[in-house]
C-alpha cells in the first residue's frame, strides 16, 4: 500500500509540474516568478495535506492553489502580457495571425492567450491547453459548470473570429476584442 502511495504522488508530480508552471506563466508572463509560484503551489498542497489529510481532486486543487497564489502576486504587481511583449520589441504589426503564430514559442503563445479577457481566458486555457474538464474548471474558478460551458463557447467564438478575421486581412485590434467581450456582459 505504501509503495502505491509513493507511486501515485510521483505520477501526480510528473504529470502536473509543467501544467502548474505553465498556468503561472500564462498569468504572470514572468518565468522566474512562475517557477517560484509553481514551487510554492506544491509546497502549499503538501502543507494542506499534512494538516487536513484529504484532497479529493488533486489536479483541480493544484490549480486552485496556484490561482490563489497568482491573485496574491497580482496584488503586488499587475502584468499585461501583450503590452510587456510589445515593450520588449515584439511587434505584431499588420502581419496575419498565421505568420504570427508560426513564429511564437511557448511563452509567447501563452502571452497571446493571456490577452483574452479574464472571464474567458482561464476557462479556454484550462480546457484546451491543460485538458481539464468543465467540472474541474468550475471547481477551480468557483463558478457553476453552466457558466464555464458558456464562457468556453463564447470565448472560443471570439478567438476564432479574431484569428480568422486577421487572416482575411481585416485586422481586429486587441482592444476591439475586449470591446466585443464587454458587450456580452
Amino acid at each position: 500500500m505504501d509503495k502505491e502511495f509513493g507511486r501515485q504522488f510521483q505520477d501526480i508530480y510528473k504529470q502536473s509540474a509543467d501544467a502548474i508552471f505553465r498556468y503561472c506563466l500564462l498569468r504572470l508572463s514572468d518565468r522566474e516568478l512562475a517557477r517560484d509560484l509553481a514551487q510554492e503551489t506544491f509546497m502549499k498542497v503538501w502543507q494542506y495535506a499534512q494538516e487536513r489529510g484529504t484532497i479529493d481532486n488533486l489536479k483541480a486543487f493544484l490549480f486552485t492553489t496556484a490561482k490563489n497564489l497568482i491573485i496574491d502576486q497580482y496584488r503586488k504587481k499587475k502584468t499585461t502580457s501583450l503590452e510587456d511583449m510589445l515593450e520588449r520589441g515584439f511587434d505584431i504589426g499588420v502581419e496575419t495571425y498565421q505568420g504570427l503564430i508560426d513564429r511564437l514559442d511557448g511563452e509567447q503563445a501563452l502571452a497571446v492567450l493571456n490577452s483574452i479577457p479574464e472571464k474567458y481566458r482561464d476557462a479556454i486555457y484550462m480546457q484546451y491547453v491543460e485538458g481539464l474538464s468543465v467540472k474541474e474548471i468550475a471547481s477551480i474558478t468557483a463558478e457553476t459548470e453552466n457558466n464555464i460551458s458558456v464562457r468556453i463557447h463564447r470565448g472560443l467564438q471570439k478567438m476564432r473570429s479574431i484569428l480568422g478575421e486577421r487572416d482575411a486581412a481585416s485586422a481586429v485590434p486587441e482592444d476591439e476584442f475586449r470591446k466585443q467581450s464587454k458587450s456580452d456582459d
Partner: protein
C-alpha cells in the same frame, strides 16, 4: 473557417510547449523535497497508516519502495523517479551528509542494521542525479562494492547463506539496471554509446574476475569456495554485458549506421584481441619458466615432492607440465596474422573488414585458451591422483 480552426489549434499547441527546463524542474523538486522532509506526516496521532489511507489523491512521499529488513528509507520512489534525469551533485552531498542516519550507514556491511539504509537510500539517491551515461557506470561501481563487501565478510568469516543470497540479489539488481540503461540506448538508436558503455563495463568486470582469481591462490578450501562463488557472480554479470555489447555490435554492423560507430567497434575489438594475444604469450612464458625451475628438483611432472620427518609433501606452485607446444604456436601465429590483417584494414579505413579479421583473431585466442586450460585440467587431475595414492595406499606415507 478552416483557417480559424488551424490558427487557434496552432496557438494552443504552441502554448503547450511552454515547459520547465530540466534544471528548473530539478530546482523545484529539490526545494519541495526538502520542505516535505522537514514536514513529515505525523505518526503520533492515531493510526499512522490510517492517516495515509485518508490521503486519497495525494499519498505521502514517504512511501516505501524497498521495505528491507524493516528499515524505512528516508526517501521514496517519488524522489527517485521524478528526479531521475537530473544532475545536481551538490544537492546529493547535502542530502546525504545532512542525514545523520544515512551518514552513519556508510560503513555498514550486509547483515548490519543500517546496511539497507546505505544501499536503498544513500546509493539510490546518488543514482537519481546521474545522467543516462553515468548511471550504468555507477551501477557497476555499486556491483563491485557488493563484491568487496562479500570479500570482507568472507575474510571476517561472517558469510552466511542468507547474506550470500541477499548479495546475489543486489548484484543481479545492479546488472539489471545497467542492462536496462544499455537496452534503452540501443532502442533509441544510440548504438555507439550502448556499445561503448557495455564494452567498458564488461572489461571492468573482467578485471574484477581476474583479481579474484589471483586472490584464490593459496586460500583454504572454505575461503576458496566462497571466493569462487563471488567470482561466479561477477562472471554471470559480465556475461550479461557481453550479450549487450554483442547485440550493439551486431546492430551496428547490420544497420551500417555510420562509419564512426563501425570504427569504434573495430578499434574495441582490436584492443580485446591484442590483450588476449599478449596474455597468452605471457602465460606460455610463465609456464616455460616454471618448467625450467622445477627441472632440477626431485620433481615429478613439474611439481616438487619433498620428504621431512617421514611426511611427504607436494608443493605445486604453477602447473608446469609442457603442453602441445607446436599446436599452440601454430594457433598463436594464426592469431597474430589475423590481427595484422585487421590492422591493415583499419589503417585503410575498411572498418567492416577490420572488425571481421579481429573477430576471427579473437576466435583463435579462444581456441588457444581452451587448449591451454585442458592441459591445466589434465595436469591437475594427475596431481590429484598422485596425492590420492599417497594418502590411501600406494606409497602409504600420509
Amino acid at each position: 473557417m478552416k483557417t480559424e480552426q488551424d490558427n487557434f489549434s496552432k496557438l494552443i499547441e504552441r502554448a503547450k510547449t511552454a515547459k520547465l527546463t530540466e534544471r528548473e524542474r530539478a530546482a523545484i523538486f529539490l526545494t519541495v523535497d526538502a520542505y516535505v522532509k522537514s514536514h513529515p506526516l505525523s505518526a503520533e496521532s492515531g493510526n499512522f497508516r490510517e492517516k495515509y489511507r485518508k490521503f486519497i489523491a495525494v499519498k505521502s512521499p514517504f512511501s516505501i519502495p524497498f521495505l528491507t529488513d524493516g528499515i524505512r528509507p528516508l526517501v521514496s520512489a517519488w524522489h527517485i523517479h521524478s528526479a531521475r534525469s537530473l544532475v545536481a551533485v551538490f544537492v546529493v552531498a547535502v542530502v546525504i551528509i545532512g542525514s545523520g542516519t544515512s551518514f552513519a550507514a556508510q560503513g555498514s556491511l550486509p547483515g548490519d542494521f543500517l546496511y539497507p539504509v546505505r544501499v536503498n537510500f544513500n546509493e539510490e539517491i546518488k543514482a537519481v542525479f546521474l545522467s543516462d551515461i553515468r548511471r550504468p557506470v555507477y551501477e557497476i561501481e555499486r556491483l563491485k562494492t557488493r563484491v568487496e563487501e562479500a570479500k570482507t565478510l568472507i575474510a571476517q568469516d561472517r558469510m552466511s547463506d542468507d547474506i550470500r543470497n541477499k548479495i546475489a540479489v543486489k548484484v543481479n539488481s545492479h546488472i539489471s539496471n545497467v542492462k536496462k540503461e544499455v537496452d534503452g540506448l540501443t532502442k533509441n538508436g544510440d548504438l555507439k554509446t550502448a556499445f561503448e558503455i557495455s564494452n567498458v563495463l564488461e572489461t571492468s568486470l573482467k578485471e574484477s574476475e581476474s583479481a579474484i582469481s589471483e586472490e584464490l591462490v593459496g586460500k583454504e578450501d572454505a575461503v576458496e569456495k566462497e571466493l569462487s562463488s563471488v567470482k561466479d557472480i561477477i562472471r554471470e554479470s559480465r556475461e550479461i554485458l557481453t550479450i549487450a555489447r554483442e547485440n550493439a555490435e551486431e546492430q551496428i554492423l547490420v544497420q551500417q549506421t555510420d562509419d564512426d560507430s563501425i570504427k569504434t567497434i573495430a578499434e574495441a575489438k582490436r584492443q580485446s584481441v591484442r590483450k588476449e594475444l599478449d596474455e597468452i604469450n605471457k602465460e606460455i612464458l610463465t609456464r616455460r619458466e616454471q618448467a625450467t625451475l622445477t627441472q632440477d628438483a626431485d620433481s615429478t611432472a613439474g611439481f616438487i615432492v619433498s620428504e621431512y620427518d617421514g611426511v611427504v609433501s607436494i608443493n605445486v606452485q604453477e602447473p608446469s607440465r609442457g603442453f602441445d607446444t607446436e599446436l599452440i604456436q601454430k594457433l598463436l601465429a594464426q592469431g597474430e596474422n589475423l590481427f595484422d590483417l585487421g590492422d591493415e584494414k583499419l589503417n585503410a579505413s575498411d572498418f567492416n573488414a577490420a572488425f571481421s579479421f579481429f573477430s576471427d583473431a579473437l576466435d583463435v585466442t579462444a581456441v588457444i585458451e581452451m587448449e591451454m586450460d585442458s592441459v591445466t585440467e589434465d595436469f591437475n587431475d594427475e596431481i590429484d591422483k598422485i596425492i590420492s595414492d599417497l594418502e590411501f595406499g600406494e606409497q602409504g606415507i600420509i
